[in-house]
């Protein structure tokens, strides 16, 4: 199948005065992981809600697993899993009871629902906590249970809306491992995230969303090559600012250094073009006493700055869920 398993064309959605989606296009090939990257209020959640049949688009169309999300919503629902920003599990039931209930609601027989619950709990490391109330789980475990609850029917497409937002590093790793395991089984995963690192680690393709539109797509490597790395330099003596800027300008592929604070510089450089050792040597040659030199991936803000020419606006609270509720 060469057709994309998730296909959105020109999606528009408005909530009152907020235009959450303004012509969003997206195509996800089957069996891949697509990371939808963007700041709060970019329209990520609304896009997922439309694709998961929770809300209808005002204009445009979308097909998931071969069916139109509006006309054939039930067929789409039978083929997708959704884990939203809330851990949408019942805190007053145990993990096992939650999964059995969702299994029954997926019209599994009692016996099949029990077996599937046990299998999933085992596989995703929740067996030890299976008989405790989900309300007492840690944030990471609760999200993992939520994710597992969306896997009961072995969905063709799994939608994960900011699956790790608000989790500690351990919880995040747990979710990442689960997503990797699913991708390895061939499940198509569409996940939204505010973290470039997360998209980088998990996704085959990244779609950068801003103001309800996809403004860039590509593999993580391609996007990073386009955006470049960042070289951060802290000098001991702020008086050496000019010498530092001059030394950094000699590096291959470096753009002009931005002085982020007294003695703190940040230089966008082409990805893979500069080695840390070269930077240290260039500074040394110029007689600059560098307190810290670090080469790092761009932050989401820098990706936005690079792609849109302006900083990401994180001011808008995520308009979609607030308006949708």
């Amino acid at each position: 199948m060469s057709d994309p398993i998730v296909l959105a064309e020109g999606l528009h959605k408005r909530f009152g005065a907020t235009r959450a989606l303004r012509g969003l296009d997206l195509a996800v090939p089957a069996g891949t992981v697509c990371g939808v990257l963007g700041p709060n209020g970019a329209g990520k959640t609304t896009a997922v809600r439309v694709l998961a049949t929770l809300t209808g688009p005002d204009a445009g169309r979308a097909r998931v697993a071969g069916f139109d999300v509006v006309r054939d919503a039930d067929r789409v629902r039978a083929r997708i899993g959704l884990a939203g920003q809330h851990a949408a599990v019942d805190g007053r039931l145990t993990g096992r009871e939650n999964l059995r209930m969702f299994g029954r609601l997926h019209h599994l027989t009692r016996r099949a629902a029990r077996a599937r619950a046990d299998e999933l709990l085992e596989r995703f490391g929740l067996a030890a906590a299976a008989d405790r109330l989900a309300g007492g789980y840690s944030g990471g475990m609760r999200r993992r249970l939520d994710l597992v609850a969306s896997l009961i029917l072995r969905p063709d497409v799994l939608f994960l809306d900011e699956p790790t937002t608000g989790l500690d590093p351990r919880g995040r790793t747990g979710i990442w491992d689960a997503v990797r395991a699913l991708a390895a089984d061939g499940t198509t995963v569409l996940l939204t995230t505010q973290y470039l690192e997360e998209a980088d680690r998990l996704a085959d393709q990244i779609a950068v969303v801003d103001h309800g539109r996809v403004i860039a797509t590509g593999s993580p490597d391609a996007l990073k090559a386009r955006i470049g790395d960042h070289l951060d330099v802290v000098v001991a003596d702020p008086a050496q600012a000019a010498a530092t800027a001059a030394a950094l300008a000699t590096l291959p592929g470096a753009r002009p250094a931005v002085e982020a604070g007294p003695g703190r510089f940040s230089v966008p450089v082409a990805a893979g073009a500069v080695r840390l050792a070269e930077a240290v040597r260039a500074l040394d040659r110029a007689g600059v006493d560098a307190a810290d030199v670090a080469l790092r991936r761009p932050t989401l803000d820098e990706v936005f700055l690079s792609l849109t020419g302006r900083p990401a606006e994180n001011t808008a609270p995520d308009a979609a869920p607030a308006a949708a509720r």
């Binding site: 809600r49 809300t55 039978a78 959704l82 007053r92 039931l93 145990t94 029954r104 609601l105 509720r325």
Partner: protein, 274 residues
Amino acid sequence: MSAAAVPGRLARLRWTFSDGAALVGRELGHLRHRPGELVGALVFPAVMVVLFGYVFGSAISVPGGGDYREFLMPGLFSMVTLTSLMAVTQKVAADAEKGVMDRFRAMPMARSAVPFGHTGADLVGGSLGLVVMVGAGLLVGWAPHRGAVRAAEAFALLLVLRYALSWLGCYLGLVARSEEVADRLGPLVLPLSMLSNAYVPTAGMPGWLRTVAEWSPVSALTASNRVLFGNPGVPAGDAPWPLAHPSLAVLGWSAALLAVFVPLTARAYRRRGR
């Protein structure tokens, strides 16, 4: 085209029942894990019996004579029936707020299963509560006097109206969308139950208030119970229509509530997020 995922009418109906049953099972699961909640829910009506029976009972005289606690019990049955709708509102609002409702909506479930599950679960819990109240009533001297069949009719009317009211509760929960709003609505129900013949005779109320009280579904329910249990306080022959024909009035109220709030609830559920 896969035929498996497109259920026919019959399969849909079966889904509605099996999904509803799964959600009733969920409520029973809650009760199993929080027995304290169950005890609280069951003790509350018993406390009301003692409180109203002996505190109000010491001051109120029943028109036409008779024991106040015999007069009171049908009123308390009605009061519990009415207040139960807020519990449904809170549960539905909590599901909506926590995203559980969205999960249900993204699943190939029967659309109507969620409200059926919530209202069905409430009926199960309500029946349990009624058993406790009957026990408490018997202890304080109340009794049905007109035989098992009429008593069964009275209990059936209580459950019918309760079920109809739980659809109103379900709708309010979908509209409230947050537990906080649902909590604020809660205290409004008690005055509604007071504005009736449940605790005191309506005869002494000022004219307009009396009319409102006489047409309240709580009054009709209370009156139907008094008639069927043979308890004091049965409305006189010249009472307005709903009190002169209380059982019919209860059925009418129930039918009207269901006719309005079943479709409204289904629509609100379908349209959530639009």
